[in-house]
């Protein structure tokens, strides 16, 4: 190896804007993070903070109109995806980066068998014959631990259970062996036991295939269990970013602290849970300065005026808050 490996994915100051009749929304307002091969990065935040828009922006699948990526760079294996022509992007989607969805049942087209769906992707990206594609498809199902992979090829999505559907969706994402997997709340629609299975499977696949995984979730428990690093998102910005252990043990941003305090803990006797005061800001008119300041316990005058800079407070720990300047 010569020199440090470049990260698999490096997102720099990504900005995505939605122009709607009601006004302009900066759904992503300068999002930066990076992801190495074989690493799982958790992206956490409340509903509506821009997690899914981040995923769509990376894939360049933001519905346009009304959405548009207005700034930043997405460096995937060193090349800027935002500068690529659509045709080239079509070759990257599915072959080099793939996505898994929240609701597996709706992510599979009801009129195709699982085998047809898988074969289509294989044939599209590799141009091999249908018979060979069948074998590859069964192999992909085996990879994701589908019971009876060969029989499942002939099943329609409605004949599968929720967990099996999510495995099929994973197989669909991984069939061309991508380097990056974006999982957008892959377990929210599943019950707890299946959730655990799917999460274990994702961790397993990461090790076996050397995948980089961007795991979008609002479940801090999942992050603690599964991720190597975590980015905490709030209202279209990343407020804290670093190694999971570091951030869970020494949360520094008031928002992260609030999130962790809001977690019920099994050791403690039942007391009222700490909630973060207020609600997510209206992004049509985001608060000036730090977007979190109206809800922040430590808000000062400067927070109302200036966007906080990102400060590295420890190795593997970045925070965007004036408290640490």
């Amino acid at each position: 190896m010569n020199g440090p490996m470049p990260p698999l994915l490096e997102v720099q100051a990504l900005r995505t804007r939605f122009e709607t009749y009601a006004g302009t929304v900066d759904a992503l307002d300068g999002v930066s993070f990076s992801l190495k091969r074989g690493e799982i990065l958790g992206l956490v935040g409340e509903t509506g903070c821009g997690k899914s828009v981040t995923a769509l922006s990376l894939m360049r699948l933001v519905p346009d109109p009304p959405g548009r990526i207005v700034g930043g760079r997405v460096l995937f294996k060193g090349q800027d995806l935002l500068a690529l022509p659509e045709r080239a992007m079509g070759h990257i989607r599915g072959r080099e980066m793939a996505m898994v969805y929240q609701e597996p049942m709706t992510a599979l087209n009801p009129v195709f068998t699982v085998g047809d769906l898988l074969s289509e992707v294989i044939i599209h990206h590799r141009g091999i014959r249908k018979a060979e594609a069948r074998g590859e498809a069964a192999e992909a199902l085996r990879l994701v631990g589908m019971p009876d992979p060969v029989g499942t090829l002939l099943r329609y999505p409605h004949e599968l259970s929720g967990g099996m559907c999510q495995r099929a969706v994973l197989a669909l994402a991984l069939v061309c062996r991508p380097d990056l997997l974006i999982a957008d709340e892959p377990t929210t629609a599943l019950d707890v036991t299946i959730q655990a299975q799917i999460l274990r499977l994702i961790r397993d696949l990461r090790t076996r295939l050397g995948l980089g995984v961007l795991l979008i979730t609002h479940d801090l428990g999942v992050v603690a269990q599964l991720c190597d690093r975590v980015a905490v998102m709030y209202a279209g910005t990343i407020v804290e970013y670093g190694a999971v252990r570091e951030i869970f043990h020494h949360p520094q941003h008031p928002y992260t602290q609030g999130l962790l305090e809001a977690l019920p803990r099994i050791q403690e006797t039942a007391s009222r849970l700490q909630a973060i005061e207020g609600t997510v800001p209206n992004l049509f008119a985001p608060p000036p300065g730090c977007r979190f300041h109206p809800r922040c316990r430590h808000a000062r005058e400067i927070c109302r005026i200036e966007r906080p800079k990102v400060i590295t407070t420890a190795p593997e720990h970045d925070v965007a808050c004036v408290l640490y300047e």
Binding site: V150, L153, C176
Partner: protein
């Protein structure tokens, strides 16, 4: 002693899957049989096809479907020799009606396929792409729909040379917007479904998404619409023939027979009555089938 059970092969699995699917078909069949009107419709249509196929055997005077004339026997009332009487050129009306089924089926089929071929892609493209393209395509469809289909078909058929082929083209031109509308509406809701985004996510191109991912999901709604319109197509074709811009003599087209027979009313009642009944039964059969299919395939519409 128990022999080790062999591991299930893919063939066994396939059979299990087929059995499950068969069960599904059985439910559909039961729902179909539970609706006597649908069964009647299907029976009528099957009968129509059988008659069309066996026309040379069934028709007592096959040559009467063409240009032959027997002026000596013109305008005879129903009798043992001519069960439904004869027309103004002495041709056996029963034979002509029997041969007419072939023409009728052809008209229903060609018109439906032609308007599907025009209407469905337009609707799918408009619905999926949206924006200016949608606007342009749908306003065009509006323009066609703003004229009652029969009048529009009449105008188009009259503008082309009067013939049964041109009548079929004219009816299709008047009718594609109905398919476009139905398909567009369905595509509008389907394109927001996650599986469309999932398909884009794995790199499937737009054209393939429209035609092979979204359209198959519209199949049931298209089928219902089409089966309802076969009857309409037949009726309209008969109307065009009746006013003289459709089938031309000596074709044994039912509408044309009505048109000629009208001149001999009221004495020669059998000349118009029997072709009229044939049209009535055929159109009714297709409409019953269409309604039944809608009930079976689209349970949301059932009351």
């Amino acid at each position: 002693m128990d022999a080790p059970t062999p591991a299930p092969t893919w063939l066994d699995q396939w059979w299990v899957g087929q059995a499950a699917r068969l069960q599904g078909y059985r439910f559909a069949l039961r729902r179909f049989l539970a609706s006597p009107l649908t069964v009647t419709g299907v029976a009528v249509i099957i009968l129509l096809f059988l008659v069309a196929a066996a026309a040379p055997v069934l028709a007592p005077y096959p040559e009467d479907a063409g240009t032959t004339t027997h002026l000596a026997q013109r305008l005879q009332p129903p009798s043992r020799a001519h069960l439904l009487g004869t027309d103004d050129l002495g041709r056996d009306i029963l034979s002509r009606i029997i041969y007419g089924t072939r023409l009728t089926i052809q008209i229903g089929f060609v018109v439906t396929v032609l308007s599907l071929v025009i209407g469905v892609p337009i609707g799918a493209i408009a619905g999926f792409l949206g924006g200016k393209i949608d606007e342009a395509l749908m306003r065009t469809a509006d323009a066609f729909q703003s004229i009652p289909p029969l009048i529009l078909a009449l105008a188009v058929a009259a503008a082309l040379r009067p013939s049964i082929t041109n009548a079929m083209i004219a009816i299709s031109v008047a009718w594609w917007p109905w398919y476009s509308r139905v398909v567009r509406g369905q595509v509008l809701s389907l394109r927001e479904r996650t599986f469309v985004e999932a398909a884009r996510c794995v790199g499937v191109q737009r054209r393939r998404i429209i035609f092979s991912h979204i359209l198959p999901n519209c199949f049931s709604i298209i089928l219902v619409q089409a089966s309802l319109q076969v009857g309409n197509a037949i009726l309209t074709a008969a109307a065009l023939s009746f006013v003289g811009v459709g089938a031309q003599p000596p074709l044994p087209e039912w509408g044309l027979m009505l048109s000629v027979g009208r001149g001999f009313l009221p004495e020669v009642w059998w000349f118009v009555t029997f072709p009229g009944i044939a049209i009535f039964i055929t159109v009714l059969g297709f409409n019953l089938l269409g309604d039944g299919l809608r009930d079976i395939l689209d349970p949301r519409l059932r009351r």
